[in-house]
Each structure stands twice: as C-alpha cells, then as structure tokens.
C-alpha cells in the first residue's frame, strides 16, 4: 500500500474532522472556508493512493482490509461530493468526515497489507461487487448523517431557541432532500452489489452460503434499506421515525462489515 499519499489524504481529512468537532461543540464554523478545498485535496490524494496501490501490487488488492477501508472511505467522500455539488452544503460532513477519517486512518496505519491468497478474489467480478456494495454503503452513510442533522434541526426549531449551529445548518427541507436522495442513490448500487455477490457465492459454494452471518446481515441491511425507501414512498416518513430506521440500517451495516471475521465464505485469506 503506498502509504505516503494515503497519509497525506488522512492529513487533509483531519481538517474535515476538526471542522465537524468544532461545529458539534458549537464553537462555530471557523473552518467553513477551508474545509471544502481541504477534503477535496484529500480526495485527490486518496485517489492517487488507490491507483498506485493497484498498480504496485499488480492486481486489484481489494480484499486486503486496508485497501477496502480506504476504498469505502473514498467512495463515501465521492458520494459526499456528488451531493455537495447538488446542494452546496458541507453540513452532512459533520457525520461523514469523522467516518471517512477513521476509515482512512485505520487503513494508513495498517503496516503491511494482508496479501490475498484466495484465488476467487482476483476475479474481476469481485471488484464490481465490492465497488457496488461500497457505493451503496456510502449512500447509506450520507443518508444516516443527514437524518441525524434533520433531528438536530427539527428539535431546535421546535424548541424555539435557535442556536448558532442551527442557524448554520441548511433548511429542514434541504436536509430531508439529501437524506432521501442519498438513499435513492445508494439503493441500486447496494442491490446490484448484493446480486453480484450472491451469484459469485452460489457459483463457488452453492446455495448453502445463506446461513453465513455476514451474508445474513447484509440481506438484513438491504431489507432495512428497502423498508426505509418504502416508508418514504408510502407514507412520507421522515424526521424521527426515518432517522431511527436509518440508524438501525447503519448499525447493521457496521455489523455486516465487522462480520468478515466470523464469516466462512467471505474471507480474504484462503484457509
């Protein structure tokens, strides 16, 4: 893993982290002017690091933990920027930046990549599968972040004592739009990611893989994702209820991510 560029990216993302912390501690938006170019530069270095990693190792080393954390963080930032262009607000970064920072830092601190011995993982379809799933994750992260901001803003408006943080947050409607569109954006990626993953696994292990914890959690997450969208379409759920569901989906997503360790079929190292 070419760590130097990744570490540079971590440095830039740290600006994003500090920005989030300042906002959350109500110290105001001191970094508002620099945060966007800083994380933008971080994203560029991050991209360079990913490309270089791929070139150096000679194949796509997706399944090394460091690489995949890095890729997930990268895609989360890309999705963040897609929405930034649409809505001109960096506020979802309050949630996204710390997640991205932690993922990238963890990736940059990993000294030696776990080399991939499993031949399956060199398959190009795996690459497709992981990028799809991760983009889906990124959409979910963003939506989760926005739904928390929605709660903060809603509570402040109802309390009738607007605080500086709240004055600075975008209008409720905008946050809600981000929340919904991030879900809408991530869902097809997640769906196709799970489809490609399933096809790959059926090919290799047959239908038995469904009892694997990682797979079960992934399907559960997808179901909650779908439920989020469904409640939105059918009865316009937003605010508190939608935020609870999004938090739930986010927790399952984290569990599914962590479940690699318990998974029989979803491993990077051939046992």
């Amino acid at each position: 893993m070419p760590l130097i560029w990744l570490r540079v990216a971590v440095g830039f993302y740290a600006v994003g982290l500090v920005y989030s912390l300042l906002l959350l501690s109500r110290k105001g938006n001191l970094l508002a002017k620099v945060v966007e170019p800083a994380v933008g530069l971080g994203l560029i270095f991050h991209f360079v690091s990913l490309v270089e990693a791929t070139v150096l190792i000679g194949h796509i080393s997706l399944a090394s933990i460091q690489y995949s954390e890095s890729l997930l963080a990268f895609l989360a930032m890309v999705v963040f920027f897609v929405f930034f262009v649409g809505y001109r607000t960096t506020t979802p970064g309050i949630i996204i930046f710390p997640i991205v920072f932690v993922l990238t830092l963890a990736s940059a601190l990993g000294q030696r990549p776990v080399s991939i011995t499993s031949p399956t993982l060199r398959n190009g379809w795996i690459f497709v599968h992981i990028v799809l799933i991760f983009t889906g994750y990124a959409g979910l992260f963003l939506s989760f972040g926005a739904s928390l901001l929605y709660l903060v803003q809603e509570r402040a408006l109802k309390s009738k004592r607007p605080t500086p943080l709240v004055n600075w947050l975008p209008p409720l409607q905008t946050i809600d739009d981000i929340c919904y569109h991030a879900l809408l954006f991530g869902f097809p990626f997640m769906t196709f990611g799970i489809v490609t993953g399933s096809v790959l696994l059926i090919e290799k292990y047959g239908p038995m893989f469904f009892v694997d914890p990682k797979i079960v959690l992934s399907f559960l997450m997808w179901a909650v994702y779908l439920l989020l969208l469904y409640t939105r379409w059918s009865s316009g759920w937003r605010g508190r209820r939608a935020a609870f569901l999004a938090t739930f989906a986010f927790i399952i997503a984290i569990c599914a991510w962590a479940a690699n360790n318990f998974s029989r079929v979803h491993r990077f190292i051939a046992s």
Partner: protein, 440 residues
Amino acid sequence: MNFVLIGVNHRTAPVEVRERFAIPESHLPEAVRSLASSPGVEEAMIVSTCNRVEILARTTDGMSSLDGFLRQLYGFDLAPYRKYLYEYREADAVRHLFRVAASLDSMIVGEPQILGQVKEAYATARAVGAVNSQLDALLTRAFAVAKRVRNETAVATSAVSVASVAVDLAKKIFGNLDGKAVYLVGAGKMCELAARHLLAHGAKQIYVANRTYERAVTLARKFNGEAVVFDQLYETVPRADIVISSTGAPHAIFRKEHGERFLNRRRNRPMFFIDIAVPRDVDPEMNKLDGIFVYDIDDLQQVVSSHVADRHVEAEHAEAIVQMEVEKFQARLQTLDVVPTIVSLQEHLETVRQAEIDRVRGRLGAMTPEQELAVEALTRGIINKIMHTPITTLKSAARESQEVTTVIDLVRRLFGLREAKPTIVRDEANVAAGGKRGAN
C-alpha cells in the same frame, strides 16, 4: 482636523424636539449651502432623518461654533433645547459619524437604511459644492467602515421584526418559499402583513378563511387568492404549507388530532403554524407532532428579542472596529497636515538647484549629454540627501507627536519656506497616504 458635529437623535431627544430640528428634504441643499458659507466653515454636510439630525462641518480653526448658523437656520432660541443637543469635535466627531454610518447608533442596531441616508446627505452636500478634500476623505472612510462592520460582524444578519422572523423560520423549514401555499385563518391586519412578507419571499397560493365570508373574499382579492367558507376549514387547511391564524375564537381551533389528520393527508410533509391570536388558536400540543411547527406570538417575540440581544453583542465587536478606524483616520489626517510643508520644501530646493545649475552653466561651457546627465544626477543626489531628514522628521512628528505644528514651523523657518497653501488638494491626500505606507 477641525471637525465639529452637532446633532439630536432618538436617544437624546423626544420626537417633538426632533421634529423641530428636522430639515425637510426640499430645504436641505439650501441649508447645507448656507452652512458651508458661514464664517469659519470650510466644508459641511447635514443628515436629517426621522430619528436624527447631524450637522457636520470642518472649520478653519477648530474653535468656531455653529450656534450662529443654527439660530439663523431654525429661527428660534436654542437655549431651551441645549440639553437635547450633543456636540462632538475632532476624533469624537469622526467616531460619531462612523458609528452612525455603521448603524451602531440606530434605534434598531444594524438596520440598513441609515447608511443609505448618510450617502444621500453626502450626495446633496457634494451637489451644492459644500464638500471637498477632508470631508470627502472622512465620508469615504465612513462608508468603508460601515461596510467592514457589516461584513465582519453579525450586527445586521438576524431578523428583528415579528413578520421577518416568521419568514426566516418558514425558510428554515421549507428552504425557499417558492410555490408554497399560505393559509390565512382570520382576516386581521397582522395576518395580512405576515402574508405580504411571505408573498414577497416567493409564496404563491393564498387561501383565506374567515367567519364572515365577505371579509375573507375582500382579503383574498387583495392577494389574488382564494376565499374559503369557514365550515370547510379543516378539509382545506392541509393544502397549505404555512398557516397563519388570528381569529378571535375563545378556544384553540387547531388541536393535536387535527394536526394528525393534516399530516396524514399531506403524507407527512411539514406544516408551519404561525399563531398570532390571543387567546391562542393553535393548541401548543400540536408542536409535539413530527413535522408540525407551531410558533405563537410570544415565541416570535422571544426570537425577536434574542436577535436584538445578539445584535448588541455583535455591536461590541463593531465598536472595536470603529475605534481602530478612528485611530487610523486620525493618523492619516495628521500626515495630511505636513504634506504642504513637504511639497514646498521639495519645490524650494528644486528652485535652488535649477538656479545654481543655470548660474554655473556659462562658466562650464558646452557640455556633452553625458556630462549634462552627470551634473543632473549629482545635484539631485545632493538635494535628496538634504531633504531626507527633514521629511522623515515631519512624517514621524505627524504620526507620533502632538507637536506637529512646532516641527512644521521649525522646518519652514530653517529653509525659509513661504506660508502653506490654504487648501489641500486630493492628490496631496494620496501623497500623504503613500508616504505613510512608505514610512511603515
């Protein structure tokens, strides 16, 4: 600097006094012209609004009083009004003007109109030729200070009226108000005012329901809206995003169960209830529903007063900016005082140099162009060296010491310079500013 400022404002004088001092717009040019031509007055301008009258002049000696002018202008004895008038001189006058322009002296701190009014007053004074170099520099600076205060502090950012707070809140909920529907329940004046504000910010459809249907129709017609029969209130309210209620009903007409029904009909799209009725029309329990926001008149007032308080906090930052700017301006004007001396010193030595060259030219005979250049460079070098110390001494005296007139006098006597020119032209002001920058 010799600035004098006399005025009354909303803080020092009640309206019946202010109106005696106010100068109608049509009389203003004449008043400024007569002030500028009063004895001892070099430049002048007058700001007259409903909250203040500021009479600003630059006098020849800084001691002149404007009393004579005031008596002539108003035609009544000033003595009984003395306690309402304030008078500032020099740096205090500069500070007061900066504070007025930056809206720190306004009744509602940060209100934007005053800057425009000062600009108009300035334009009037210019038009009648009452303004030249120093007042011009002062006003230009005052506008820059006002801009700085607006940009660097939050003194003018928050809404400070009930109607504008309502609009701000609506924007916090809905983003922009384009195409939003507004429902007026009751046809009172307050309703109308709030609706007008919302329309100005993009709201489109207006519905009006009133117990007396005819009044609803009249009001709806004003906004090109739709009047609704009061019995159909609950069926039609869900069409609106913003509901402004101000009926005289003794009990709440919108209760929690209504809210639930509205949300259901609207598929949970948010609603904003502005309740300006006393007793209240909207049950405060409604505010607990997800997606319904209820503000009553007290809530709105509370936001207004918290914004006013915020403005006062911000005004303290602004005062610091003003103080800094006053000092900068003072320093600049003091440098301006020495400019005529510097200019005449330069002219004097240049004349001596030319005379000396002409005198010896006959003895030297024909010179090659190179020799000409060498003589030129030599003589210029000498006078520049000689001038260097007096000029830097003048500049630093202007910047630092109170004895600037003594230093000016001394340099003039040492070099046998003539009296300074009476008026300072704008270019010299630039020389002074440049000199100051150079010296820093």
